[in-house]
Symmetry: C2
Subunit: 406 residues, 2 copies
Amino acid sequence: MSTAIPDLPLLATDDSMLSRKFGREVANYFSGSPLNRVSFLRADHAFLNAAFAHPSASFLLLDNYSPLAKDTTTLAYASKEDIVPLTGPEPFKPTEEEHIKSFNSAVTQPIVLFMGLDEKKTGFQYREYKGNPYFAVDVTPKGSIVEKAKSVIEAVKTKRGVSFIPGARLLTLNAPEAAIYAQARALLDWNARNPFCGGCGERTMSINAGTKRVCPPTDLAGVPEGAEPKKREDCPTRHGISNLSFPRTDPTVIMAIVSADGTKLLLGRGKRYPPGWYSTLAGFLEPGESIEEAVRRETWEESGVHVSRVVIHSSQPWPYPANLMIGAIGQAAPNGETINLGNDPELEDAKWYTFDEVREAMGASSVGFGEPVTEKRKLRIPPQTAIANRLMAAVLDGYLSATPKM
Amino acid sequence: MSTAIPDLPLLATDDSMLSRKFGREVANYFSGSPLNRVSFLRADHAFLNAAFAHPSASFLLLDNYSPLAKDTTTLAYASKEDIVPLTGPEPFKPTEEEHIKSFNSAVTQPIVLFMGLDEKKTGFQYREYKGNPYFAVDVTPKGSIVEKAKSVIEAVKTKRGVSFIPGARLLTLNAPEAAIYAQARALLDWNARNPFCGGCGERTMSINAGTKRVCPPTDLAGVPEGAEPKKREDCPTRHGISNLSFPRTDPTVIMAIVSADGTKLLLGRGKRYPPGWYSTLAGFLEPGESIEEAVRRETWEESGVHVSRVVIHSSQPWPYPANLMIGAIGQAAPNGETINLGNDPELEDAKWYTFDEVREAMGASSVGFGEPVTEKRKLRIPPQTAIANRLMAAVLDGYLSATPKM
């Protein structure tokens, strides 16, 4: 689940200098997408229009974040014909400028997200960029598109014999499709959470094929057909570049903290964890803080343990709803290992576990977040799909030893 | 500027296991704050009230993001008396619940941000937490507080003989105060950019001493004194935890890309760089993407170069307005070094420079973003305060060599 993904074309051979020193790069679950996002083509309506129309295009449908899937391991895709009743036949035909001019705040806009080109599959080509196009479409029934969305959902289920798999903590998908789902879920969620402008309070609209939201200067709501659109008040997001227009990702630190003597790991237990579960500590990074500082602050706040050095290990997209998990390994200060849960009472418990105890938990079958506990064990840890598990594994594998790993 | 900060108490001795393998942890400019944020006390009005009232409290004032400063290297602080005309004598006296009930969307709320305790300076104590309290206050004249803010600004300048230093790219402050400024700037900016709720379009209010914004369920605007506040429509951010309530930080990747043979560095030139300037490539991380993937995507999109392994080096808060710079070192794939600026035409130029050329630029005096160019040189690079410079230095220092440092 978390080894380097073998068919990622850009991963070099093992004898590169970096791998000599650092071992194989760790690609965690939800990363390793097979798609080239070609992000610079998202404002090119001719490209989007051609990609949307091409018979090789795949459409991942999400109903309230549940993806269309064959089963819990494999996604299913719709075709253009399936979604045209909702999106219209040529949603990318207008230029972006025309699209913004046509903004009508009373009409719900179905989000059609362009995700990228799968360069392993050839069929579609635009300029020098080749590969089958992937889109994601939000088919959640809401606003003025309730009925259309419902009939698209029913039709695709009947026609294809597939269903929408509840997406909450969906950690069973095959790795490349997990990355596709993560991208779709995170961006559709961001669009759904931000219908209004934080700068002026007016309704915003989706542009750049689902990857940007703007606060249009005019609105056609309530305007008779053919008449000029209503002008809206000035908005600060229209002056220069505003980060409010772009998707939000929340950096989160997650850390395996090793005792000063390098023999134990600090694990904590959240209040809603399943019985027996412990995991690495984690928390949101704050403004004006480095990753390394956030690791020290969160560890001390949650457990009372003082951390000295911190090294960043790897990262994991976590689309619930929009986190970037930044995995780090830190070492407790020699006199800073006393556990104190009294600062920020977020954890129910925190403990130092010996490497052997963690190794035993690692060897036993992992248990998912919602799965029932069927056997008694001293310690249960998250599955390999979680970066928490990979950080613990890195420590047990000798990440801290002075000998470079391959 | 970017070495480990010597008085940071939690940095361990150099013989820790991590430092044996990885060398000293790199603390970049804008990190290394001397303040303990004690973030769990931000909702405790008794703590905030006591800290605000304590004679040891320092107040950093920002006028339109320009901080009160003695000169371009040293901040200046106001006292409680200086800012009471704007904030009132006890802004934290009400509980958070009372504060939310008193919400009036017609009244501009001056943001009083609690930043943390400087544990090196004793005087104030609350429970077991000791240290002088630091606040930041947004004194930008705006909304219903224009006149009060203007008189606070004039009074403090006259009384203290200090001024507000324009904060755009302020890279001359001493390192600990740069971190304090970064925290203040990022959070005041976030509050100022988000007066409205992205979920429902209504006005929001600041709570948790400037570190959280909520969409209150009621509003006193236009309500006669003593009458019940107006109820507002339901808002999705009031159900469970919403990331829209918390500060936004945008993860950004910045990368020193080394040629496959380990002898050259890839540097690019933005369209608005000063003459002769080149720097490492950089770009925003996208939802559903790992740091390592973002490094590969951005490098290919901007320069055409294909990157194989990526290792994360260190991080830097960058408060313009709210970026987290995540510094990485990557290696080009053996057959992927051809430069192509035609994908995303963001760069004016990109080039492979030999280590010697970069070393020469590194040795010469650095030139700041706005500084005039006074001598002819082949290559100019950003100063040591920029993580770009530190990434290049790490490569030149043999970060990629197989021999562990220290």
